[in-house]
């Protein structure tokens, strides 16, 4: 294998890895960096389970090559808690029973965080369209939308104070 050496930042930490040039960033994160919170549901960008941020933009890790991460900043669900504290979205997902099996949860959290950073006060419709790239088969999305609404409210309050 003609591996490429990649230096990047993952959840704020400098990371180096070597991977084949055709390997997806999803496989790199899961198999080389052991960040298995990033899930694979389809590998074709249709389910959102592998949602991460790349230089702050929400993307599917399965549609990014590992080699592309050179010099970029990667954010995964593993980096959502700060200073040992859960992110308000993480808290609200638990409080609102917004997960059943939990396989889609990391992707939803990363996508919802990106959504609320862009739009701190989204309508129900904006939440629904904003999270349309993330499939959940257990919940019917009801409690997920409510959890995002609850977290948005808390985060808006936090911002004001």
């Amino acid at each position: 294998m003609n591996g490429v050496t990649v230096s990047t930042t993952v959840n704020g930490d400098a990371v180096q890895f070597v991977c084949p040039p055709s390997e997806s960033l999803l496989d790199v994160l899961r198999n080389r960096l052991n960040l298995t919170g990033v899930k694979e549901g389809c590998g074709t960008g249709d389910c959102g389970a592998c949602s991460i941020t790349l230089d702050g933009r929400l993307v599917c890790a399965c549609l990014v090559l590992g080699a592309e991460a050179e010099g970029r900043e990667v954010g995964t669900v593993e980096g959502m808690s700060e200073n040992g504290e859960l992110h308000p979205l993480q808290v609200q997902f638990i409080e609102n029973a917004a997960l059943q099996c939990g396989i889609c949860t990391p992707g939803f959290l990363v996508a919802a965080k990106a959504l609320l950073e862009r739009n701190p006060n989204p309508t129900e419709e904006e939440i629904r369209y904003g999270l349309a790239g993330n499939l959940c088969r257990c919940t019917g999305y009801d409690k997920i939308v409510r959890a995002v609404q609850a977290a948005a409210k808390i985060m808006r309050k936090g911002r004001k104070s």
Binding site: L35, G43, C47, V77, A97, Q100, R137
Partner: protein, 753 residues
């Protein structure tokens, strides 16, 4: 020890509260380990070569080139799976489904598998395997498979359930009939009879986590399997049988499970991974791609159903019949039988008959999908119920109330009902504020009822009390949707301690006795029952320890509010001993304190639901939008209402997807054309409204807390409820699911002439 399973109507401190699930933090931080999330030192990666043909003889498989590829460590084909089934035909079917034996029976059927040092090498190796096929005629449609001259899938299949026993092969594997009374006489009494034929297309459970396992099997026949499954004990038994292993030597651990809905009750690739591991003598990881999940796991049946119902002008049904044709894929199943049993279960009928035909086709082996087979039957029956109500000039809800089954009704599938919830759910529909919402242009309202049996089954739990008084509860049913929280609530309720003092673990096959698969909505029902008994056993031990501490007879000790209390005036100087205090002393009073229980949790209690939906249909494109959706269902007793609501909402959402867009699309070549989440369209967040729920609690007499299973019934009514709503919105009767935009537009135009 016999256990009192009867409902006792006790008061609750914790049960019924909405506590946070104990595994929540693991799941929101990405720490929870699912099927594909673990690796072993020296592990190989396995990939499966699958048939590109719907039906073909496998004349030759040449693996020589692949075997020479550096990095390839093992290759298996059908020849590597000797028959250990001892003539058990259904086990042989499972084995043949895992790996073809001389014939590929459907597009996606496994024909060979490779284990190599990495995925890239395994992929290359697959391309080097040369399979010589001879294509055979195929059939994928259920009606076509029953027609004269259809290609026969298995020449050994004779239709069961027919007298006299047939002597020639057929694609109809089984005929099953249920009912009572005289339907001919019943129809003769009817003032109005409505008859209609329906079709439903094949759908998949659509769990987001693909099948995945990490298998290790040594030359001595000992091994371990880490796998995403609804039933690790069943997987152990099945894999052991298929591979000729001792059950005790195969340890199976269920990973966190990323959705199952029935689809993870059966083995697909696990025996293959184990066999590759045995051959290579290294751990083997096998993860299905999404494409493989669609093509080669176990979707539910496509069907073709005739329903006929007759009624008097006063609204009483006089007779009802259904003929239900369900395809079971390339191997015999019992799916039509379930359809026949459930079709009229909601109603009190004097004369009823339902006949099911299980039909073989060149599609993947059908597996259970949430209340398997009931939604399709309900689509037919509940549609005809609406049509009949309209002909009678009666309100659809009133018509159902008039004919609803109740305690003492002889069910269409045989037995006589105990206390049941169909009547109350219908009454709740009538009284619901949703009924008062004003409908706009192109909008329609529909409702439908649904039924599912629910099961219990073999269950075994262990409850261990630590020296600090905290509690480990180990159960053998998997947590598919929050059952750890419910079981911790139950244990804490019984022991009288705080909820967060209980930690629930899903035990592997070596840490508990056999537990049946987590299916039939049995998780909280049966493990809940076993947890109650295990806790009560532990309380007996706690009382003995307290008695020993106080030096009084144990019959003078009672357990109340989480502490042992000494009864009687003579003991009034003895202050109560809390669980914590007794636990702290346990090393010196007889050692660890534990409660254990194994039980066959039967009497799960049938479950009914009524759903109400408003839709808007775009008459120019045939597109349907769900505006409002309400689920009303009997839960017996909701241990954790959040997760009961979650089951109601999730089932409704799956039903909405099925009703409107989800379907397996086969080409003329018999190959699946949409094996991916792009073209197999499960609902996305923006497709759905909030889904209202109303939990009714009609206690199950056969559970100490009155619990009924809640997981499945919620998928039964949506197909029909939406069908009725669309029909009311645009004035055409839809009889083909999914009611996709092209089908609705065509129906509108055909009706306009």
């Amino acid at each position: 020890m016999p256990y009192e399973t009867a409902y006792t109507n006790q008061g609750f401190n914790l049960v019924g509260s909405r506590v946070n699930r104990p595994d929540g933090i693991d799941k929101v931080t990405g720490r929870a380990k699912y099927g594909a999330d673990v690796n072993a030192a020296g592990q190989l990666v396995a990939k499966v070569l699958r048939s590109p043909h719907a039906h073909a003889l496998i004349k030759k498989i040449d693996t020589s080139k692949a075997a020479k590829l550096p990095g390839v460590k093992a290759i298996v084909t059908g020849d590597d799976f000797p028959d250990h089934t001892g003539g058990n035909r259904s086990m042989m079917d499972i084995l043949e489904n895992c790996m073809a034996r001389g014939r590929a029976l459907y597009d996606g059927h496994a024909v060979a598998a490779v284990a190599a040092i990495d995925g890239e090498t395994a992929d290359k190796a697959l391309k080097l395997i040369k399979v010589t096929y001879k294509k055979l005629p195929h059939v994928t449609d259920v009606d076509a498979a029953m027609a004269e001259g259809a290609p026969i899938i298995h020449d050994w299949v004779r239709t069961a359930g027919v007298q006299p026993a047939p002597t020639t092969a057929s694609n109809v594997a089984q005929r099953s009939e249920f009912g009572h009374g005289d339907v001919e006489a019943g129809f003769a009494q009817a003032d109005i009879v409505v008859e209609k034929t329906f079709k439903t297309e094949q759908t998949h459970q659509g769990y987001i986590e693909p099948h995945a396992c990490l298998a290790q099997l040594g030359p001595d026949g000992s091994g371990e399997l880490w796998v995403t499954t609804q039933g690790h004990f069943t997987f152990r038994n099945v894999c052991s049988t298929l591979l000729g292993l001792d059950v005790a030597k195969l340890k199976v651990t269920s990973s966190e499970i990323g959705g199952g809905f029935g689809g993870k009750t059966h083995v697909w690739t696990e025996p293959v991974a184990l066999q590759l591991s045995r051959k290579a003598n290294r751990p083997v990881k096998l993860v299905m791609t999404r494409d493989e999940v669609f093509r080669a796991s176990g979707p539910t049946s496509s069907t073709s159903i005739d329903v006929k119902i007759g009624a008097k002008k006063n609204g009483r049904i006089t007779a009802a019949t259904a003929e239900l044709r369900y395809q079971s894929g390339a191997f015999p199943g019992m799916w039509a039988m379930f359809g026949a049993m459930t079709s009229f279960a909601c109603y009190d009928l004097k004369n009823v008959k339902s006949v099911g035909y299980d039909v073989l086709v060149n599609r993947p082996k059908v597996a259970a999908y949430r209340a398997p087979s009931a939604p399709m039957a309900a689509f037919g029956v509940e549609s005809v119920m609406d049509m009949l109500a309209a002909e009678l000039g009666m309100d659809a809800v009133e018509f159902r109330i008039k004919n609803a089954a109740k305690k003492g009704t002889k069910a269409s599938y045989g037995p006589i009902y105990g206390p049941i919830g169909i009547g109350p759910t219908l009454q709740a529909v009538k009284d619901h504020p949703h009924m008062k919402r004003r409908l706009g242009k192109n909008q329609g309202r529909g409702m439908a009822c649904g039924f599912w049996f629910n099961f219990g089954g073999q269950t075994c739990t262990d409850l261990n009390i630590g020296v600090d008084g905290s509690v480990n509860l180990t159960v053998g049913t998997v947590d598919v949707g929050g059952s750890r929280a419910s079981l911790a609530l139950i244990a804490a309720e019984e022991l009288g301690i705080d909820y967060d003092q209980v930690r629930v673990t899903i035990g592997d096959t070596n840490s508990l006795g056999h537990n049946d698969t987590t299916e039939g909505s049995r998780g909280t029902f049966s493990s809940g029952m076993a947890t109650i008994f295990a806790a009560r056993n532990a309380i007996e031990v706690l009382k003995q320890r307290a008695a020993a501490t106080w030096d009084i007879p144990v019959d003078q000790v009672v357990w109340e509010a989480g502490e042992a209390r000494a009864k009687g005036k003579q003991n009034s100087n003895l202050p109560p001993l809390t669980l914590k205090e007794i636990a702290a002393k346990s090393p010196r009073t007889g050692g660890p304190i534990a409660g254990h229980n194994e039980v066959v949790a039967d009497g799960a209690g049938v479950s009914f639901a009524s759903h109400l939906v408003d839709v808007e249909v775009d008459p120019e494109t045939g597109s349907t939008r769900v505006l409002r959706y309400t689920v009303i269902q009997d839960a017996g007793k909701a241990i954790h209402p959040d997760y009961v609501e979650g089951q109601f909402q999730g089932g409704a959402a799956q039903g909405i997807g099925w009703a409107l867009n989800e379907e397996y699309i086969y080409g003329d070549d018999g190959c699946l054309q949409n094996p991916g989440f792009l073209d197999y369209r499960i609902p996305v967040c923006s497709d759905l409204p909030f889904i209202d729920t109303q939990i009714l609690e009609i206690p199950n007499p056969n559970h100490p807390y009155g619990v009924r299973g809640v997981g499945e019934t919620s998928i039964v009514p949506p197909l029909a409820a939406i069908g009725n709503a669309v029909s009311n919105a645009v004035g055409v009767r839809m009889n083909h699911v999914p009611m996709s935009p092209p089908r609705i537009l065509k129906a509108i135009e055909d009706a306009a002439g």
